[in-house]
C-alpha cells in the first residue's frame, strides 16, 4: 500500500487564461477516489515541491455517479471522477478538464451547450397541464425497459468529449441528444412531436454528421446504447425524408 499518491492537475485560472500544470502529493487512504484526493488537496493546497497555491476548482455533487457533475479526463479517459478509484489508477493520476467545452476554471467546464441541444430536439412530452387528467397510456415492460436505458442519460458529456465529430469546426449535436431524441420518439405521448424532432436533425449538426467512430458508446458511464440510437434515428430520418418527398 503506497503512503502517498501523486496527482497531476492541468490548471487554468479562468476563461481564456493560459493553462499550466501542478503536481500534488496526497496521503493515501483505502477506497480513495479522485474526488476525495481533490478534497485533500483543497484542504491543504501545497504542491509537491512545497509551493503554496490556490485550491483547484472542480464540479461535483452526488459522488455516486448519478448527477453527471464531476466529468473530467482521468489519465486521459473521459469519465466521472467520483467513480475513479485510486486503487485502479496508474500514477501519477493525471486530471484534465474536458477539451470539447470552454474551461471555466481548472477542471470546470461549461456544458450548457448540451442543455441547449435538448431544447433543439424538443426532448419532452407535450403535456396539456399538470392537473388531474387521468393515467397515462399502458406501456409493455419491454418498451419500458428500452426507454429506461435511454432515460438514464446524465448529460455528463463523456460521449461528446470522445467524439471526433464534435470539434470547433463542427456543429454536430452529439450522441447524448440523439439518445434523448430516440427516447422521446419512443414515448407513447412524446411520439406526437417525432417529426419535429426529425426536422431538427435534418441539415448541419444533425445525426447525419455522425462519423461512426463509436467512441461514445464505449465511454458512456450509464451504458446507454448510443450507437443503437444513432442507427435508429438514421432510419427514422430516412423514412421521414421519403414521406416528405411523396407528400410534397
Amino acid at each position: 500500500m503506497p503512503e502517498k499518491i501523486t496527482v497531476k492537475i492541468k490548471r487554468q485560472d479562468g476563461p481564456g487564461k493560459e493553462p499550466y500544470w501542478q503536481t500534488f502529493e496526497v496521503p493515501y487512504q483505502p477506497n480513495m477516489n479522485v474526488i476525495s484526493a481533490l478534497m485533500e488537496i483543497r484542504a491543504n493546497p501545497v504542491t509537491a515541491d512545497g509551493k503554496k497555491t490556490t485550491p483547484p476548482s472542480w464540479d461535483d455533487a452526488c459522488l455516486e455517479e448519478v448527477c453527471g457533475s464531476c466529468s473530467m479526463r482521468v489519465n486521459g479517459v473521459a469519465r466521472q471522477s467520483c467513480a475513479a478509484l485510486v486503487d485502479q489508477l496508474e500514477q501519477p493520476i493525471v486530471l484534465e478538464p474536458f477539451t470539447k467545452f470552454p474551461v471555466v476554471r481548472d477542471l470546470m467546464v461549461d456544458r450548457s451547450s448540451m442543455f441547449e441541444a435538448l431544447k433543439r430536439v424538443k426532448a419532452w412530452n407535450p403535456l396539456d397541464g399538470t392537473y388531474d387528467l387521468g393515467p397515462g397510456p399502458k406501456v409493455d415492460p419491454d418498451t419500458q425497459d428500452d426507454m429506461y436505458s435511454y432515460a438514464k442519460c446524465m448529460t455528463c458529456g463523456c460521449c461528446l468529449e470522445v467524439c471526433p465529430q464534435v470539434n470547433e469546426n463542427s456543429p454536430f449535436i452529439g450522441a447524448a441528444a440523439i439518445g434523448q431524441t430516440i427516447l422521446y420518439n419512443t414515448q407513447p405521448i412524446g411520439k406526437a412531436l417525432a417529426s419535429e424532432r426529425l426536422e431538427a436533425h435534418m441539415g448541419p449538426g444533425g445525426v447525419g454528421d455522425c462519423g461512426n467512430a463509436q467512441n461514445c458508446v464505449r465511454v458512456c458511464p450509464k451504458d446507454i446504447p448510443l450507437t443503437t440510437a444513432i442507427a435508429a434515428l438514421g432510419r427514422q430520418l430516412t423514412w421521414h425524408t421519403i414521406k416528405n418527398f411523396f407528400l410534397r
Partner: protein, 652 residues
C-alpha cells in the same frame, strides 16, 4: 412592474413549483447552484408512494395518510399530509404522462413495491433510480417552458438573501454568480425556496456535496422560523465511506433484503458460507409483522444498538449485513437486477463486491431533515399553505418542515417534494397576482450593500484557521452527539463546541481570493451558515426532553411493556380524555372504538406516562434566529390534528 416569481433550487420541489407557476402564466426566474438536472433529488432511489391500490390489497389514500402520520409519530400538521396522500395517485398519473419510465407489470400497468412503515405495496419505481427519472421528466418540462419564454434559468447562481421591505414583505433576492462572484439583486413578488436539506452540517451523509443547508440558514437568519430542526433522519443502510456515505435504498429490503449479524461474535466464515441457523435476523426476530421494513428510525436504532451497545457488528466493527442474494430474498437474479440495478451498480463500483453473490455491508448514516423552514398548513387568516412566516416567501421540498413529523417514511419524500412544489407554485402565483404595492427602491440597494459587505469581510479573512478543518470538526461533533442517540450533557458540550467553531470562523485563512469560479470562497461563505443552522438543530434536541421518532434521548424513553401486556389505547380513559380535548380544540371528529376491555397494569402505567408526555411534547418546535451563543429563541406550537387522533407508536 410585471409580476414575477423566483424559485430557488432546481430539485424536484423547485422544478414542480416552476412548472405550476409557469403554467399559470407568470414568468419564473429559477436559481440553482448547479445545472438543475444535477440537483440532489437524482440520488433518491427506491420510489414514490401513492395508494393507487393496483395490487388489489385494499390500499387507500386515507391508509397512506394514517401510515404517514403514525410513522412520523403525529408531529406533522395533519391537513397537509391528508392533502398530499389524497393527491398522490394523481401525481403518479402526472409523472406517467410526463414520460417517467416506471417499472411495469406484464399487462403494462404501473408496478408497485413494498417500502418501510406500511404493509401495502404502495411504491411506484423506476428500477432503483426513481429520483433521477422523476427529475429528468420535470427538467424537460421546465425546458419546454424555457422555450416558451416563461422560465429563465440562473444556473451556477447561489442564493444569498431575501430582499425584504420595511414591512418585512418579500421583494426579491440577492444571489451570487459562482463563476465570477458578482452579486446582484433580482426583483420578484414571491420567492419559493426549494433548497433541500442540510447534510453537510453533519459532515459526511448520504447527501450531495451541494446540500449545505446554507440557503435555509440564510432565510432563517433573516427571520424565517426554523421548525423541528432536531428531527434528523439517519438512514439505516448506507455504505460507509471516506468521502460520503453512499445510500443503499430501502427498496432492497422492499424486494426481500434481510438485515443480520452472525450469532457468534467471533464468526470467521465468509458471510455467504454462514447458514441461516448461525445468523441473527434481528429485525425479523423483534418485529415479526414488519420485519426488515420497520420505519427507518426503528431500524437505525436497532442496528446502532447491535453494533455500538452490544458490540455484535461484523468483526466487532460498526457494520451489519444486508442480504439480498437470490437464496435469501427469494427473487430471481434477473428480477433483482431489473428492479435494483441502480443500487447494485453503486455497490459494485465503490465496494467491488456483487450484492447478488455476497451480502452487502452497511451502517446507518445521516440522510434527511424532517425539520426545516416553517410553512403554513391551511389557507386561513394570515396563513397560506407552503408560505413561511415572512409574507411572500414560500418553501417546499426537504427545506420545509412539513409532512414527515418526527420520522419520514421511505418513498414519501419524492411525493412531498412534488406535491409541496406544485402547491407552493400555485399559491405563489396567487400571492404575486394580488401583490400591488411597490417597494421603496432603497430596500434593494440596502440588501445588495449588506451582501457585498459580507463578501468583503470573508475576502479579508487571513487568520490561521482552515475552513475545511472547521467543517470536519462540525460534522464529526454533530454526527457523534446529535444523530441516533442524544444525551443532554453531550448536547451541552456540542453547543459549546459550536460557539468555539463560530469564534474560529473569524480567524479563517481564505486560501483563494480570486474572482473566477472560486469554490473556496463559496464554501467559506456557506460554512458560516452551516454553523448558524447547527444551533436550532442542537438546541431543539437539547430542550426536547422526550423520545419521538428520529429524536431519541437517553433517559427520556418510556419503556414499553412486554408484547402480551400491550392493549388497545382506546381502552385507557386518560387517552380517551386526551383525544376528546384534541377533537374539541381542532373541531375534529374522531371515531374511537368502544371502550371494552380492562387493560393490564403495565399498559395502564405506560399509557399514563404516554398521555402526560403527549400533552407536553406533541408540539412543533419553532426556532427564531438570535445571533450568538444565546440563540435561537425557542417556542412551541400545537400540531394541527384534524384527521386522526395520535396514538402510541408501537410497531410489531
Amino acid at each position: 412592474m410585471p409580476k414575477r416569481v423566483i424559485v430557488v433550487g432546481g430539485g424536484l420541489a423547485g422544478l414542480a413549483a416552476t412548472i405550476r407557476a409557469a403554467e399559470r402564466g407568470i414568468p419564473v426566474d429559477l436559481f440553482s447552484v448547479v445545472p438543475v438536472k444535477r440537483s440532489h433529488s437524482v440520488c433518491a432511489q427506491g420510489g414514490i408512494n401513492a395508494a393507487k391500490n393496483l395490487k388489489g390489497e385494499g390500499d387507500h389514500p386515507d391508509i397512506h395518510t394514517n401510515d404517514t402520520l403514525f410513522g412520523g409519530e403525529f408531529l406533522a400538521d395533519q391537513p397537509l399530509v391528508q392533502g398530499m396522500c389524497r393527491d398522490a395517485p394523481a401525481i403518479i398519473d402526472l409523472l406517467d404522462r410526463m414520460g417517467v419510465p416506471f417499472n411495469r407489470t406484464a399487462e403494462g400497468n404501473l408496478d408497485f413495491r413494498r417500502f418501510g412503515g406500511t404493509l401495502y405495496n404502495r411504491t411506484a419505481f423506476c428500477g432503483a433510480t426513481t429520483g433521477q427519472q422523476l427529475m429528468y421528466a420535470l427538467d424537460e418540462q421546465v425546458r419546454r417552458f424555457e422555450t416558451l419564454g416563461l422560465v429563465e434559468k440562473y444556473e451556477h447562481w447561489e442564493f444569498l438573501s431575501l430582499v425584504l421591505d420595511n414591512d418585512q414583505k418579500t421583494r426579491g433576492i440577492t444571489a451570487m454568480n459562482i463563476w465570477d462572484r458578482s452579486i446582484e439583486v433580482f426583483k420578484a413578488n414571491a420567492v419559493i425556496l426549494c433548497t433541500g436539506g442540510p447534510g453537510l452540517v453533519f459532515g459526511k451523509s448520504t447527501n450531495s456535496t451541494i446540500n449545505t443547508g446554507a440557503a435555509a440558514s440564510r432565510a432563517y437568519q433573516q427571520g424565517v422560523w426554523y421548525a423541528n430542526g432536531e428531527f434528523i433522519q439517519v438512514h439505516p443502510t448506507p455504505i460507509p465511506g471516506a468521502d460520503k456515505l453512499r445510500l443503499i435504498s430501502e427498496s432492497v429490503r422492499g424486494e426481500g433484503g434481510r438485515i443480520w449479524v452472525p450469532k457468534n461474535k467471533d464468526e470467521k466464515r465468509e458471510p455467504q458460507d454462514i447458514p441461516d441457523s448461525d445468523r441473527d435476523y434481528f429485525l425479523e426476530r423483534k418485529y415479526p409483522r414488519y420485519g426488515n421494513l420497520v420505519p427507518r428510525d426503528v431500524a437505525t436504532r436497532e442496528i446502532f444498538n447491535m453494533c455500538v451497545v452490544e458490540g455484535r457488528g461484523i468483526g466487532g466493527k460498526n457494520v451489519v449485513y444486508l442480504d439480498v442474494t437470490p437464496e435469501r430474498s427469494g427473487q430471481k437474479p434477473e428480477v433483482l437486477e431489473r428492479k435494483l440495478g441502480g443500487v447494485f451498480e453503486i455497490y459494485r463500483r465503490f465496494k467491488g463486491d456483487d450484492p447478488l453473490k455476497v451480502p452487502m455491508q452497511i451502517f446507518p448514516g445521516m440522510h434527511y431533515s424532517m425539520g426545516g423552514l416553517w410553512v403554513g398548513y391551511e389557507d386561513k387568516g394570515d396563513m397560506i399553505v407552503q408560505m413561511t412566516n415572512i409574507p411572500g416567501t414560500f418553501a417546499a421540498g426537504e427545506v420545509d418542515f412539513q409532512y414527515h413529523g418526527a420520522n419520514r417514511l421511505g418513498a414519501n419524500s419524492l411525493l412531498s417534494c412534488i406535491w409541496g412544489g406544485l402547491e407552493s407554485g400555485e399559491r405563489a402565483v396567487t400571492w404575486a397576482e394580488s401583490d400591488t404595492a411597490e417597494a421603496d427602491s432603497s430596500v434593494y440597494g440596502n440588501e445588495l450593500k449588506r451582501q457585498v459587505e459580507f463578501a468583503d469581510k470573508i475576502e479579508k479573512l487571513d487568520g490561521d484557521e482552515n475552513a475545511f478543518k472547521i467543517h470536519d470538526e462540525l460534522g464529526e461533533w454533530m454526527t457523534n452527539y446529535c444523530t441516533v442517540v442524544r444525551e443532554n450533557d453531550k448536547l451541552d458540550q456540542l453547543s459549546t463546541k459550536i460557539d468555539e467553531l463560530e469564534e474560529r470562523f473569524h480567524r479563517i485563512n481564505l486560501s483563494d481570493t480570486g474572482r473566477s469560479a472560486n469554490k473556496t470562497f463559496a464554501f467559506v461563505r456557506a460554512l458560516w451558515d452551516m454553523i448558524q443552522l447547527a444551533r436550532p438543530i442542537v438546541k431543539g434536541a437539547r430542550l426536547r426532553d422526550e423520545s419521538r421518532g428520529a429524536h431519541y434521548k437517553t433517559g427520556f424513553d418510556i419503556q414499553k411493556p412486554e408484547a402480551d401486556k400491550i392493549g388497545e389505547a382506546s381502552d385507557h380513559q386518560g387517552y380517551r380524555d386526551h383525544c376528546a380535548e384534541i377533537a374539541e380544540k381542532w373541531g375534529a371528529k374522531f371515531d374511537l372504538p368502544e371502550k371494552k376491555e380492562e387493560i393490564s397494569p403495565e399498559f395502564q402505567e405506560y399509557m399514563d406516562k404516554w398521555v402526560e408526555k403527549e400533552r407536553q411534547w406533541n408540539k412543533t418546535t419553532i426556532a427564531v434566529y438570535k445571533p450568538g451563543p444565546d440563540g435561537p429563541d425557542m417556542s412551541y406550537r400545537d400540531v394541527a390534528m384534524t384527521v386522526v387522533p395520535p396514538r402510541p407508536r408501537i410497531y410489531k
